[in-house]
C-alpha cells in the first residue's frame, strides 16, 4: 500500500453521508431504469433520503416569508436542488411501479420468498399497491367475463400443462455494465463466451450472467449504466 492508496482511503471515508446517499440513490435510479427485473428496495437509503427531503421542504416553507434578496437567492438554489432530488425519487418509484404493473404475480411470489432475507424486494407501500391493484383487477375480470367460464378455467395463475400463465421478465436481456472492482473470468452459460472483467471496463452482457455481482442484487462489484 503506497501513499496514494492511503490518501484515497482517507478521502473516500471522509465523503459526507449526504453525498454518498446522493451517489447511491443515483445508482439505484439508473439501475432500476435499466435492469430488466425489479431490484430489492433500498429501505435504509430511502428512509434517510425521504427524511432529509421532508426537512428541506420545511426549511423552504419557513424561509419563503423572508424577502431579503440575499436569502432569496439562497432559497432558489435550495429549491432547485430539492426539485432535482424529488425528480430522482419520483422517477425511481415510477420505474418500479411500471415493473410491478407488468409482472405482478411473478413479483408477488418473489417478494414473498424474499421476506426472510435481509432485504425484502418491495417496500411496504409497494406491496400494498400490488395486492390491492391485483385484487381489483381480479374482481373486475371475474365480474366482466371470467365468471362465465367453467370453474377450471377461471384461474389467473395457472401453471398446469407445462405452460405457466405467470409472465416473467426476460432475465437474459443484454445490459450495459461498468465494472467497479476486478471480477475475473465470467462465462455465459450455454455459449462459448468467456471473458475477463477488470475494474473500469464497460461491457454489454446478459443480465443473468452478471446479476450476482451487480449492486443491489449481488456483491456490488459492478453497476448498470
Amino acid at each position: 500500500m503506497d501513499i496514494d492508496d492511503l490518501l484515497a482511503e482517507v478521502a473516500v471515508d471522509s465523503v459526507p453521508r449526504e453525498l454518498r446517499d446522493l451517489q447511491e440513490l443515483t445508482r439505484c435510479w439508473v439501475a432500476e431504469r435499466v435492469a430488466p427485473e425489479i431490484l430489492p428496495w433500498p429501505s435504509e437509503l430511502m428512509d434517510r433520503v425521504l427524511d432529509r427531503i421532508r426537512r428541506q421542504i420545511e426549511l423552504v416553507e419557513d424561509q419563503t416569508g423572508d424577502m431579503n434578496p440575499k436569502t432569496n437567492f439562497k432559497l432558489i438554489i435550495i429549491q432547485t436542488e430539492l426539485e432535482r432530488f424529488k425528480f430522482l425519487v419520483r422517477s425511481f418509484l415510477r420505474a418500479r411501479l411500471n415493473k410491478i404493473d407488468q409482472h405482478p404475480l411473478h413479483i408477488q411470489s418473489l417478494h414473498d420468498a424474499s421476506l426472510d432475507m435481509l432485504q425484502p424486494l418491495l417496500s411496504h407501500s409497494e406491496y400494498q399497491y400490488l395486492t390491492s391493484h391485483q385484487s381489483l383487477l381480479a374482481a373486475h375480470y371475474s365480474t366482466s367475463f371470467l365468471g362465465q367460464f367453467p370453474a377450471s378455467l377461471q384461474r389467473l395463475d395457472d401453471i398446469t400443462g407445462g405452460i405457466s400463465m405467470i409472465d416473467k421478465p426476460d432475465e437474459d436481456k443484454a445490459v450495459f455494465v461498468r465494472v467497479l472492482r476486478d471480477i475475473g473470468d465470467i462465462a455465459v452459460e450455454g455459449t462459448d463466451r468467456r471473458f475477463n472483467m477488470k475494474r473500469g471496463d464497460v461491457w454489454v452482457v446478459r443480465w443473468s450472467a452478471v446479476k450476482k455481482w451487480a449492486i443491489g442484487t449481488g456483491t456490488g462489484d459492478l453497476e448498470l449504466i
Binding site: 484515497a8 438554489i77 432535482r84 432530488f85 411501479l97 436481456k173 450495459f176 464497460v202 461491457w203
Partner: protein, 242 residues
C-alpha cells in the same frame, strides 16, 4: 403513475445525470455556504476557484454570478490530440480517464458523474464519460468562457462522427452470447446505441435459444455424470446448423 418508458435512459435523463458532474467556477459574487441535500456547498469567495456541480454552475452563470472554467480536456489542443488518437485506432475508443486509486474494501467505489473528471485540473488527455453532454451544455451556456468556442464545437462534432462510425461498425461483431467490450464509451453514446445493440443481441439469442437450451441441458448432465466426452458431437451439430 407508472413510468411509461422502455428500459434505458432517455437523453434528458442522461443530461440530468451529467449535471451532477463537478466543474470549476470563478465566482464573481460572494455566496455563503449552503447545506444542500447532496452535501455542503463551500462558500464562494471571488476570485477563488471552487468546484461545484454543473447544475449550480449553470444557474450561477445564467445570473452572471460566476464564470465557468472549461475542463482541462475541453480545449482545441487536447481535443485535437484525442481526435488524432481516435482516427489512428480504428477499432477502439480513446481510453477513458485514469481511475482513482482503489478505495478500501468496505466502501463503494465512486464512478461518473461523481469523479472529478471535468474540473479545471482534471486529466487533459482523455474524454470523460459525459464528454458530449458536458461539452454541448457548456458551449451553449458559457461559450464566452472558452478561448475558441467555434473551434471546440467543430472538434466535438468531428469526434462524435468518428466515434459514431466505430459504434456502427461494432454491429458486425455482436452475437447471441453478449460479452462485448466497450471501454471508453460515453454516456450519451450508450443511450443512443442501447436499443440497437441490446436489440441485436437479444434477437440473435432468441434465434439460437433452442440450441443453447440443448447445450445447457447437456452441460448440466455432464456435470452430474462427471465426464465430458460429447464435446466433439456438439461441434458437428453446430456445422449442420450453419
Amino acid at each position: 403513475m407508472a413510468l411509461p418508458l422502455p428500459p434505458g435512459l432517455t437523453p434528458p435523463e442522461i443530461a440530468f445525470l451529467c449535471e451532477m458532474e463537478l466543474v470549476t467556477v470563478i465566482p464573481r459574487q460572494r455566496l455563503e455556504g449552503l447545506e444542500l441535500l447532496g452535501g455542503r456547498i463551500k462558500p464562494l469567495n471571488p476570485p477563488h476557484r471552487t468546484n461545484i456541480p454543473l447544475w449550480l454552475a449553470l444557474l450561477l452563470k445564467r445570473q452572471r454570478r460566476a464564470n465557468i472554467l472549461p475542463p482541462a480536456w475541453l480545449n482545441a489542443h487536447s481535443l485535437n490530440a484525442i481526435l488524432d488518437h481516435e482516427i489512428e485506432h480504428e477499432d477502439t475508443f480513446s481510453p477513458p480517464p485514469r481511475l482513482p486509486p482503489q478505495p478500501s474494501n468496505n466502501t463503494l467505489p465512486t464512478s461518473p458523474p461523481f469523479l472529478a473528471n471535468n474540473t479545471a485540473d482534471a486529466a487533459p488527455d482523455a474524454l470523460p464519460y459525459h464528454w458530449l453532454e458536458l461539452g454541448e451544455m457548456l458551449l451553449e451556456a458559457a461559450s464566452d468562457d472558452f478561448e475558441e468556442p467555434d473551434n471546440v464545437r467543430k472538434l466535438l462534432r468531428d469526434l462524435r462522427e468518428v466515434r459514431m462510425a466505430k459504434l456502427r461498425k461494432s454491429a458486425d461483431v455482436l452475437d447471441a452470447g453478449g460479452g462485448f467490450q466497450m471501454n471508453g464509451v460515453g454516456g450519451m453514446e450508450v443511450g443512443e446505441s442501447r436499443s440497437f445493440v441490446t436489440g441485436v443481441i437479444d434477437g440473435l439469442r432468441k434465434i439460437a435459444a433452442s440450441r443453447e437450451q440443448q447445450r445447457k441441458d447437456r452441460e448440466r448432465e455432464e456435470l452430474e455424470n462427471g465426464y465430458s466426452g460429447t464435446a466433439g458431437d456438439y461441434d458437428d451439430d453446430e456445422m449442420d446448423m450453419q
